[in-house]
């Protein structure tokens, strides 16, 4: 197990390094001077030179690369071009906001999806199973950003039940904990979270159903029944076994959610990291864009890494 973790960890570092290098190449090796994108024509040559020195752009490329790797490794992203704040501060705030949207959705999706999927698999060929699976298949394959647009059109603009976007109202609570505890946040959360859940829940449902079907036909289920256990008790055994693949799936789900919620953040004007990336790219605020992309890649990687480790922990068979 220890060797396995070490190997995975080494791989993780390797992949991070590869991605950093790709990022570096993207931002530095592409034709055109990075400064020319944001530096105004009115800048004097001297000012441009000074700015370039400030960002180390006058150094040889290999030195720039080394500095870049070191800075990224310690999360030193520099300052934003336009917002008068360090990039790291901005990104921490936006990442927290993103979590404020996806974590509740994730919890509901996994909890509810597990129960529904397990029941669907257990009661094979029932009307409940067929309905659940059909609806899940549709929601699973439908483009979630259009679902979001539809939800917004119906519930915010037409029925006016829910606010049409944002995380809190203007002049609403500020700061992570204040937002988290507020009613205002909950009202703004409902619609985007529902849209997220409508798609994310289909993963656990379909997965649990199919792994439940497989577990159900295992011999040990017959033995449990022959042992005279109650149906509820047998269902617990079956679900526990069927849950194994879900652990991996949740981690993968989190990473896709983290990168895929860009769309929903735009639609619902949610001030998360995805929206920050889109804005930064529009403003040519490259330090922010680069940092955001790096954070997203890190989340993806750690989640995949976590998936591998968790699987080893939860399945007694894989530990030997």
């Amino acid at each position: 197990m220890g060797r396995y973790i070490a190997r995975r960890l080494l791989l993780l570092v390797l992949v991070i390094w590869c991605i950093l290098t790709i990022l570096f190449a993207l931002f530095h090796l592409l034709p055109g001077d990075p400064t020319s994108i944001f530096v105004d024509n009115n800048f004097s040559v001297e000012m441009i030179q000074r700015q370039k020195r400030l960002w180390g752009l006058t150094d040889p490329l290999w030195l720039q690369y080394l500095h870049y790797i070191r800075n990224m490794a310690f999360f030193r992203f520099g300052d934003s071009f336009f917002q008068d704040q360090p990039v790291a501060t901005i990104l921490v705030d936006r990442t927290a906001n993103t979590c404020l949207m996806i974590v509740p959705a994730l919890i509901v999706s996994v909890a509810l999806g597990t129960v529904l999927g397990a029941l669907a698999g257990w009661r094979r060929a029932s009307r409940f199973e067929q309905t659940t699976v059909t609806v899940s298949l549709f929601l699973h394959s439908a483009p979630s950003f259009f679902v979001g647009i539809l939800a917004l059109m119906v519930f915010s603009y037409d029925l006016r039940w829910l606010p049409p976007g944002g995380m809190v109202s203007l002049g609403g609570p500020q700061g992570f904990w204040a937002v988290l505890g507020s009613r205002d946040y909950l009202q703004h959360l409902i619609l985007p979270a529902l849209v997220l859940v409508s798609r994310e829940i289909t993963g656990p449902i379909l997965l649990l159903r199919s792994s439940m079907l497989e577990v159900k036909s295992s011999d040990f289920i017959d033995i449990l029944r022959a042992k005279g256990l109650r149906e509820r008790h047998i269902l617990t055994h079956a679900t526990r076994n069927a849950l194994l693949p879900l652990v991996t799936y949740i981690a993968v789900m989190t990473s896709t959610l983290f990168q895929g919620q860009v769309l929903l953040e735009i639609i619902f004007a949610w001030p998360g990291i995805g929206r920050e990336l889109v804005t930064a790219l529009g403003d040519l605020d490259y330090p922010v864009a680069q940092g955001a992309l790096y954070i997203m890649a890190l989340v993806t990687l750690t989640m995949n890494f976590g998936a591998d480790l968790l699987y080893g922990l939860i399945d007694p068979r894989s530990s030997t």
Binding site: D219, D222, A226, G228, R230, R240
Partner: protein, 354 residues
Amino acid sequence: MALVEIEGLEIRYRTEAGDARAVDGVSLSIEGGQYLGLVGESGCGKSTIAKAILGILPPAGRIEAGAIRYAGRDLVGLPPAELRRLRWRDIALVPQSAMNGFDPVYTIERQMTEAIIAHRRMPRAERRQRIEALFEMVGLERSRIKDYPHQFSGGMRQRAMIAMALVLDPDFIVADEPTTGLDVIVQDQILHRIRTIHDATDKAMLLITHDMAVVSENCDRIAVMYAGRIMEYGGASVFEAPYHPYTLGLCNAFPNLADRDRPLISIPGAPPDLVAPPAGCRFHARCPFATTRCTTEVPELLEVAPGHVVACHYVDRAEEFRARAADPATWGGPCASGSQVLPSRHRTANRDIT
């Protein structure tokens, strides 16, 4: 009254082609302390009977008619709650596939404990003690009760399975091909262990196997099953002096310690389709002695000796059958193709030795 009485049992499986009559009018009885061997080729319905006794038929299977009486109570149609109370406490199972018989994500102890908890109140320490004692009884180390199933070898898992079957001290144990997938030496150990437990505890047991030799070495009574029906049923005389040509064929297919030079002969052909079973005797298509009568008239079980019944029209020609059955030519040569009765146990034995 016998402890277990199976009467006129009919079980069908839904298949795409129609209903398969997996078990067709089987009657058996097992007295307390008796060891019955049920033998037949794979697919003859013997495992289905085991599943029916424990009420774990797959969803496609259903009991069409008949009764399975345990201590006088019919298990067929018993309310689920009552059936549940009876399970494992009175009737336990040593399954065909010990490999997958345990839930892989719980320890063996936990799985044995839950069987106790489901039926009895027993202090924690006493439960632990009982499980450890049973582990010792089946030849496993006490300290290994906390292991997960995957940490055991196939043979150890089957021993653990036997220990689990004994955990509530049931009066009746069904062992459904308990040695499938184990190597020969372990097979013998497991069968010996079951035999010892039977002798020591005097429990009623039903051993299901395809191996005539296993039955002859272990069981008090023998039932030979073919294509969902009982062909011959009785005591040791069933293999000492068989009447039914199918029993003769089965005995031929396994080596006999008393007659080492006798060639192994397998029965040519394959068992019939149970969706549309043949008329008359189900064995007639493969029987070297079949007549036109056999193709039309279903033979009744006739008593040939006290407690020994045979379903053949020609029980009076048994002497002649026995003599002719010993000749490989009767069965279409010593290496008849399409053999279904594979003496796998002993084939593996030879390979292991060489």
